[in-house]
């Protein structure tokens, strides 16, 4: 067995982090402890709760089920990369507007899950959104407000990327 450290480079939210890791270090632990990005939370550490979801090359994955050494060369996105300055991402705003969190521990995982799923398919139906949301656990909300926020955030994301400029004026940003 070897506990020797390996120097790797991770690209997180378009910033490069050079870190020394043991191969056994999970991506989630390295993001938190060595890159200092503590927005990614760890719940179960065995792939069930979804709290540690991050995007790896656009796909939501469990950062506790991937070793950091495997993520070299990939584009990683975490919850810290969602907002544009002081402007929240459409999903973050929707989570606020619909009270889709209480303690907030699970929220980063939900946001990254939804961001990846909706960037891949902006037209997810209500049933498909519920299926995607079944990936993550929340112990506060009872999920109903998360479902409402996901729908509202999905609609807003689509509106913001719509090729038709007039649609942007049909609804105020903060309904």
């Amino acid at each position: 067995m070897s506990e020797s450290l390996v120097d790797i480079s991770l690209t997180i939210n378009e910033t490069e982090y050079r870190v020394s890791v043991e191969p056994r270090y999970t991506l989630a632990d390295v993001i938190r402890h060595q890159c200092g990005l503590t927005g990614t939370h760890l719940g179960c550490e065995h792939g069930v709760c979804g709290t540690c979801n991050v995007l790896v090359d656009g796909e939501p994955v469990r950062a506790c089920l991937m070793f950091a050494i495997q993520a070299q060369g990939a584009k990683i996105r975490t919850v810290e990369g969602l907002s544009q300055g002081d402007t929240l991402h459409a999903l973050q705003q929707a989570f606020m507007d619909h009270h889709a969190l209480q303690c907030g521990f699970c929220t980063p995982g939900f946001l990254m899950l939804l961001t990846g799923a909706l960037e891949t398919n902006p037209d997810l139906t209500d049933a498909e959104l519920r299926d995607v949301l079944s990936s993550n656990l929340c112990r506060c909300t009872g999920y109903q407000n998360i479902i409402l926020a996901a729908r509202a955030g999905a609609d807003r994301m689509k509106q913001l990327t719509s090729p038709m400029p007039e649609t942007a004026t049909l609804r105020p940003a903060d309904a």
């Binding site: 067995m1 179960c44 065995h46 792939g47 089920l65 299926d131 079944s134």
Partner: protein, 285 residues
């Protein structure tokens, strides 16, 4: 919940992966593919491999193709590849229906079809598909390649015919005829959870009669299996609810279900009856 130390190997070709595996397998070396079962097992310290051979950067093994009447699935094809049909025809429709039941969205982005077969969890959907459809599994070692029928591959709970120095490089599923019908049933306690019982029913309808029926059961016994009792009742009969009920009862009576914290044997026996009936009824809808 932290894996114990291991040496990490990252081959770029199948040949290199097989060579490294051959060197490290006697020293508790394992292949790492999607890692969605292996890594949790390591987090629990139920598995403490001394070496991991990460095949995620191996070239040319991440595609699905048609090869001599078979759907050929390379060892880096993720579950998510099957969320929509990969091919026209019944098998193209069957795989998404089953895939939808596999774990959750992020898990399906990472986990692989072939990894599920190598892991051989009794509740694996793909292991059930492989057994029911008579898949052929390609194993490669430094000595060469051998093909193993799914029926001979699964030997028990997370136990297969794969030798420790062999890498599962692909699986071949026979294409289904246009006249073949299928139904799939899974019961689990939560969305994405392990199935307590799964049933895949496939048969060909020829001249109004059931030909070549295959009733596959998963999550019931220690490995996926075909149910001969149900298949005997179906073969040669015209599809009808009475025949389906008889087949479901025969299947239920003939299994020897596992017992665990989630369900006693009697409960799984009941699920087999309900599941076979449900899967068969889907074939005539």
């Amino acid at each position: 919940m932290k894996p114990s130390p291991f040496q990490y190997h990252v081959p770029l070709t199948v040949d290199d992966a097989v060579t490294i595996l051959n060197n490290v397998a006697p020293d508790d070396g394992h292949i790492l593919a999607g890692g969605q079962s292996l890594v949790p097992t390591m987090a629990y310290r139920m598995a403490n491999p001394a070496h991991l051979v990460d095949i995620n950067r191996v070239a040319g093994v991440d595609s699905v193709g048609v090869d001599n009447g078979h759907l050929s699935i390379g060892c880096l094809v993720r579950h998510a590849a099957f969320e929509t049909p990969v091919i026209d025809g019944p098998i193209g429709d069957l795989l998404p229906k089953v895939c939808h039941h596999i774990a959750h969205y992020p898990i399906r982005r990472r986990g692989t079809f072939c990894g599920s077969l190598a892991h051989a969890d009794p509740a694996s959907e793909w292991c059930l598909v492989a057994t029911t459809l008579n898949a052929i599994i390609e194993l490669r070692s430094v000595r060469g390649t051998r093909m193993v029928a799914a029926d001979d591959f699964f030997e028990g709970m997370m136990s297969t015919a794969r030798a420790e120095n062999e890498m599962l490089v692909s699986v071949r599923l026979p294409l289904m005829k246009e006249t073949e019908r299928f139904g799939f049933f899974e019961f689990s306690r939560r969305a994405g959870d392990f199935g307590l019982t799964m049933v895949l029913a496939v048969y060909e309808l020829a001249g109004g009669s059931i030909v070549n029926p295959r009733i596959g059961l998963g999550g019931v016994e220690d490995r996926p299996s075909r149910n001969a009792a149900a298949e005997q009742i179906l073969a040669g009969s015209a599809p009808s609810d009475a025949v389906f009920v008889a087949a479901a009862e025969a299947a239920s009576a003939s299994v020897e279900p596992m017992e665990d914290i989630h369900a006693p044997a009697s409960y799984r026996r009941h699920l087999v009856k309900a599941g076979v009936l449900s899967a068969l009824r889907q074939t005539v809808q």
